[in-house]
């Protein structure tokens, strides 16, 4: 036995009206045959039988309305006795919009015409229909206070749908790509690192595709703080306890926080990066002359130093040698797109390396101006944290202290540092004649993991060429 229910014929439909039964009670009905004509809020629609059998009972007569889902008729199996209609209809709500007297009319009576011209009657009828619908709605459980889809909607899903696929593939895409060229850093992580002076090349990213996230930087800051706190104090007491020297034999100097950091970083560089050194002697006659001419032409405030010429020469050479402007990063090499030259500034109690950014793109005049300010700020302790980060190559110049040559320890995360000695007046052989010449020795320290001897030599040749033909530096 099958119940025929009022179907949902439009989304806004709440009740439907039986216009015409196309089969009489007791007649045989075949599945798919037109059974009843129903008026919804939008149209009149012929509804087919969903089961075969005898139309044993018409519950809702023509002209009456019933809410969606209400039983409007019953189809019994072939030869099956008609069950009691009241019983089958009981769990469903009675269509309240139907008038009692209409209900009493025999089945098959002519459809009652609604009073279409009377607005009042229409309103009342609709109100009743609404009341029925509202009662039904209120009784239905509300899933999570959300939308009520009649047949289950997107909110019933527990699996992700097509709606989020594009967003997810955007989020997950970096995990599939490993170009290994550029370090991925989220904007907030980059900002935080700069504020806190965290060297991002030492941070391992935990985000998709190894992106460094805010949390990674925060962890690095915490660890860094712990390390620098532990570094100066930890070895000291142990030493003092185990080696019982008389107090007057040694003077124990406690390290400042900065000294502890310098000690740690230089040791780390020296003992993790395999250094090798390449030295070259550069004829500085033209460079010295150029500097004189330049400084005669500008005011004292704009004067350039030999070091400024070296910075410019190194920066220009780096544009041709991206393999030198690079870092060792946990088993990969990162070539830096910017050329930022660190300038080692020695002070009695510390060594600091402020960074001159994009040195390759700056004029000699600007380099002189900026480096003077950076050095001045560093000496007077007024430099900002960001003055010390972002270096890609560094220069250490002891030329003013009368040294022939020396080697420097690479300043992380760089892979090279140029140690610059004094300019000396020497007897040199030129065109078979011994003549006076100005010579400067420079030594390049190289992280052998990042680049090799031939590259180091060629890079040095380029620096030399630029300083020996210094017009290129002012162009």
């Amino acid at each position: 036995m099958a119940n025929v229910q009022m179907p949902r014929l439009s989304d806004s439909m709440e009740t439907g009206k039986i216009l015409r039964w196309l089969k009489k009670e007791g007649e045989e009905v075949k599945k798919g045959e037109p059974l009843v004509e129903i008026e919804s809020d939008k149209a009149n629609i012929e509804v087919e039988a969903y089961a075969s059998g005898k139309l044993s009972k018409i519950v809702v007569p023509e002209g009456e309305s019933a809410p969606i889902g209400a039983v409007i008729a019953e189809i019994g199996g072939a030869g099956e006795a008609a069950p009691k209609a009241e019983k089958a209809a009981a769990p469903q709500e009675q269509p309240e919009a139907a008038e009692p007297e209409q209900k009493a009319k025999p089945a098959g009576a002519a459809p009652t015409k609604p009073q279409a011209t009377n607005a009042q009657a229409h309103v009342e009828q609709a109100e009743k229909a609404m009341a029925t619908a509202a009662k039904k709605q209120d009784a239905a459980p509300e899933p999570g206070g959300g939308e009520q889809y009649p047949q289950g909607g997107p909110d019933d899903r527990t699996e992700v749908g097509a709606a989020a696929q594009a967003a997810l593939s955007a989020i997950r895409r970096p995990a599939e790509q490993q170009d290994g060229e550029r370090q991925r850093v989220s904007p907030v992580a980059r900002r935080l690192a700069e504020e806190q002076g965290v060297d991002l090349s030492r941070v391992t990213g935990s985000g998709p595709g190894g992106r460094i996230t805010k949390e990674d930087v925060e962890t690095a800051v915490q660890q860094g703080a712990q390390r620098s706190k532990a570094a100066p104090s930890a070895p000291a007491p142990a030493e003092r306890q185990t080696v019982a020297r008389p107090k007057d034999e040694v003077e124990v100097v406690e390290l400042s926080k900065m000294q502890a950091t310098i000690a740690m970083r230089l040791a780390q560089s020296m003992f993790s990066a395999p250094h090798f050194y390449v030295t070259s002697e550069i004829a500085m006659d033209d460079a010295v002359r150029l500097r004189q001419m330049f400084n005669e032409a500008v005011s004292k405030d704009e004067a350039i130093s030999i070091n400024d010429l070296v910075i410019k020469a190194v920066a220009l050479a780096l544009t041709k040698f991206p393999e030198v402007n690079a870092s060792w990063a946990d088993g990969r090499i990162e070539r830096k797109r910017d050329i930022n030259v660190g300038i080692a500034v020695g002070l009695p109690d510390r060594l600091i390396v402020p960074v001159l950014r994009n040195a390759d793109q700056k004029s000699l005049k600007d380099i002189a101006h900026e480096s003077r300010q950076l050095i001045e700020r560093s000496r007077t302790n007024r430099a900002a944290a960001q003055d010390y980060v972002g270096n890609t190559f560094s220069i250490s110049n002891l030329g003013m202290y009368d040294v022939d040559q020396f080697t420097a320890i690479i300043n992380p995360p760089d892979s090279g540092i140029l140690a610059v000695g004094s300019i000396e007046d020497k007897a040199v052989v030129k065109d078979g004649q011994v003549v006076p010449g100005k010579r400067m020795r420079v030594t390049l320290s190289v992280d052998h993991r990042v680049f090799y001897g031939v590259t180091a030599a060629q890079f040095l040749q380029e620096v030399k060429r630029l300083l020996q033909s210094p017009m290129a530096l002012v162009l």
């Binding site: 309103v123 959300g146 047949q151 909607g153």
Partner: protein, 326 residues
């Protein structure tokens, strides 16, 4: 506070404004005798008469055009488009007339018009009747566009919209009319240009409007069970777009998901994401994730439709992906 459905809250707003101001009148298809396709205008023709609740022919361009004329002549019409899908035939009136007239007449006339219309999909109504077009309107200077997601906001914003001297696109949703919530009695006004944090959280921000607000709130509840604290910003004010609560939230959480029922491309989420990139780039820890309808005409097939529109699971999974938790 009384608990009302969204449809009753809207009905209350209309009734109160019609009582307060005689120049307010309603027009639309089946809104009088039939009480409206979604029964939002229930009982209003009976109470205010056939002159203030006009049943119109099925002619959207005429409905909007007539409403614009009435608005310019001093009335405050509230036009109902049975669904947003039907407004396409009236777009010339909406954009070329309603949105631009005040500007083109140098302020000499104003258009205090409200167009109420529900959008949204998920009801097996097929591609042509499942649209969400709020981004179309939000693209146009001269229109105000709001899309409330709670009954209280629906009432408060509809009252404010009726009192506004500019055309307001008041976007409802077929799926939210039965949603219930507390609604303040009487004079309750919600500004048309203020978005609102509906739930506080620290780990991730979810922006959503209209029915998607409910989806976002449900997702936030789900995420809480997994130890993820989501902040939900209700983007009920789409034009002018109030970004302040989003920017403040992103500065706190560094991660953002936008959810909309319409297509992603050129959508509400695209606009929000751009503004965040402009105003809070340095605070982001991950790219903004946009969730929207699949880029296909809405399927009629029930199973396909179910995966084409955004649901709670989409938000939950995306949130976890952004936080690197799946």
């Amino acid at each position: 506070m009384p608990v009302l459905t969204m449809r009753d809250a809207l009905n209350q707003a209309l009734r109160e404004e019609m009582k307060r101001d005689e120049s307010v009148f309603l027009l639309g298809e089946d809104i009088g005798l039939y009480d409206g396709s979604f029964k939002v205008t229930r009982g209003l023709m009976k109470e205010f008469g056939e002159k203030r609740v006009l049943d119109t022919p099925i002619a959207e361009e005429i409905i909007v055009g007539a409403a614009i004329g009435a608005a310019m002549s001093g009335l405050r019409p509230v036009a109902e488009m049975m669904t947003v899908n039907f407004i396409m035939v009236a777009m010339d009136q909406v954009v070329n007339a309603a949105a631009h007239i005040r500007y083109m007449f140098g302020g000499g006339t104003k258009v205090p018009l409200v167009i109420r219309t529900p959008g949204g999909g998920g009801h097996q109504l097929g591609a042509q009747h499942s649209h969400s077009h709020e981004n179309w309107f939000a693209h146009v200077p001269g229109l105000k566009v709001v899309a409330p997601g709670t009954p209280a906001d629906a009432k408060g914003m509809l009252k404010s919209a009726i009192r506004d001297d500019n055309p307001v696109m008041f976007i409802e949703n077929e799926g939210t009319y039965a949603v219930k919530g507390e609604v303040p009695d009487g004079e309750h006004l919600v500004p048309l240009d203020k978005n609102d944090v509906k739930r506080q959280g620290d780990d991730i921000t979810i922006c959503a409007h209209s029915r998607m607000l409910i989806v976002a709130m449900d997702a936030a509840t789900e995420l809480e069970k997994e130890g993820i604290s989501a902040e939900v910003v209700d983007m009920r004010a789409l034009r002018p777009l109030d970004m302040m609560p989003v920017i403040e939230s992103v500065k706190k959480t560094s991660r953002l998901i936008t959810v909309e029922e319409g297509w992603r491309s050129y959508g509400v989420g695209a606009e929000i994401a751009s503004r965040v990139y402009e105003e809070a780039f340095d605070y982001l820890d991950a790219p903004v994730a946009r969730i929207g309808a699949a880029e296909v005409p809405a399927p009629y097939n029930k199973r396909l439709e179910k995966i084409a529109f955004p649901g709670k699971a989409d938000v939950v999974v995306t949130a976890k992906a952004l936080l690197g938790k799946n």
